[in-house]
Amino acid sequence: MKIVKEGAPVADTWTHVGDEAELPDGGAVIVSLARFKAERDALMGRNAPLGLRLASHEPPADVAEDLGRFEVVALEFPVFRDGRGYTHAVQLRQRFAYRGEVRALGDVLWDQIPHMLRCGVDTFEVADDFPLEAFEEARTVFSNHYQPDTTGRRTVFELRHG
């Protein structure tokens, strides 16, 4: 797998750890919501970067109070048709003003990337052979948009009136 940010591969400093696996000493880990809930106090106090992985049926509202602790929230797209992650990304950015990394993983495909970017996803965990041109196209495919989004760009409705 590779991590893509702003169209280019970047080093992945994070480790996904399973619910039963031992935490690497001092390592940056991403844990599931179940594990976070079970070991909340220990994880909150752990002296290392912490990330949270949310399944598509787990809304960020479930951990609203603790979002500030996470440097990355990884949203799972179990299948590209499952669009709950778009709403969760928007909620992270808008409702909870979450400023950390929002990572998409799972069934992330070429043509879903433009929407994910607009909803506030900023990194993508994809297969090693995933074409980077998809990220290039995602940035250029539509020059403007009608809806407000998390990028803060002005909408067509606004651009028309100066």
Partner: protein, 551 residues
Amino acid sequence: MYRYDEFDQAAVDERVVQFRGQVERRLKGQMTEEQFKPLRLMNGLYLQLHAYMLRVAIPYGTLSAAQMRMLAHVARKYDKGYGHFTTRQNIQYNWPRLVDTPDILADLAKVQMHGIQTSGNCIRNVTSDPFAGATADEVEDPRPWCEIIRQWSTFHPEFSYLPRKFKIAVIASEQDRAAIRLHDIGIRIVKDAAGETGFEFWIGGGMGRTPIIAKKIRDFVPKAELLDYATACLRVYNALGRRDNIYKARIKILVHEMGLDKFSALVDEEFARIKGTVALPEAEIARIRAYFAPPELPVLPATSTAFEAKKFEDRAFRDFVRSNVRPHKVPGHAIVSISLKADGIAPGDATAEQMDLVADLAERHSQNEIRVTHEQNLVLPHVRLDDVHDVWQALKAASLGTANIGLVSDIICCPGLDYCDLANARSIPVAEAIQRRFADLERQHAIGGLKIKMSGCINACGHHHVGHIGILGVDKHGQELYQLQLGGSGAEDASLAKLTGAGFPPDRIVDAVETVVETYLGLRDGDDESFLACFRRVGMAPFKAALYEDR
């Protein structure tokens, strides 16, 4: 009519480029059919029984003459010379080739048309009253709001992978010619005491295998908050709608299972949080409204001598006027409906030549405007009374003059097993057989308003749940069987039709429909009591008796 500015044009042009790339990647095998499917669907491209099918949006049912000519061109160049107008103000082409579809969409983009979001689990083409801007009973023209919703919903980043498709309809009068109570969101434009425009929201209606009539969720959403409120509804649905079973994934099931109060409370919470997010500047509302300024029609005498004389002379014209012509808000004008339910023609089908003719007539007689109805007919919305006879003559010469709007042969019908991948039974041949049985126009007029709606499977594309008489084709052990339902309505008095009992084989269904009609004629309280009113008064029993007991 709305005209694209550079932003709108760029959006559809860029979409064509994007889709061309997707088709190329698919043809090169860089994408699986499963991955390609949602992308082609969001551009209106289905894979059907025999071939691809392309569905093109006619937003809120409004077309210019030039757009209609382009639809004719597409039919001629890329298809078999005809198209099929659907129950959601779209047109479908049944025989395009995959490699041609980017070119078709590029041609359509030249006249500001597209197939965007005519399928897929996204916000679909927004539909509206086909008489919008012409009828006296509306509080204002609903189409500017439809256009605002069209733009806002186009390529919505958050709502393109919803649990299931999402349909919005907007009207502005009490009389409902767009079936808003059978939509995921139905909006009726109203005015408050101060004369301010607002929106009455209905939620969770739909047909399919679990028909449900929408519930009113809010009496008055102020206009500045239209898109915020819609966003709140969609967001709650996207997060909580069922994804475990596509037959239970529509918002109607969520609202039904959760209860309106709970759903509404969640929407209200979200609405309170996001109010003011989707900026809809007053200047933008004014800009879009300006495109829909009423055409400058001269105020003429309310009665046209020429029109009256023709009605007096010509009985067939009189019939046409009775069923197909409705009053216009400007005296001396009329709204003329064009039936696409001529004998022997699949309901909603029109040839390229017929489309061209309608375009010509729109240019000459209807301020360049055409409308498409959810009942699969066309409308010339702004015709001078003095011209109606000429228009009818021209229509008649092209087999478009059938005087049956709202009558028994004006059947809504899905494509059925002849075309559709999902169907269990044929529907077009049954519709045609009913039309033949009731071919006598005099008899049809004597029967009066009667809406027959037929679907070839439980997905209900032919709206059988809301037919005054609904017919559902099913497959019972390899045999086609037709169930009969009575008493439905998709209008302001929405109701779901009830099943009469056991289904009828193909050779008996037309007799059964006739039995229902004859039973009604025997029971009705004077000629003015419509079938629906009569059924609601007497109930199912006498119809059941006539259908099953005498055999």
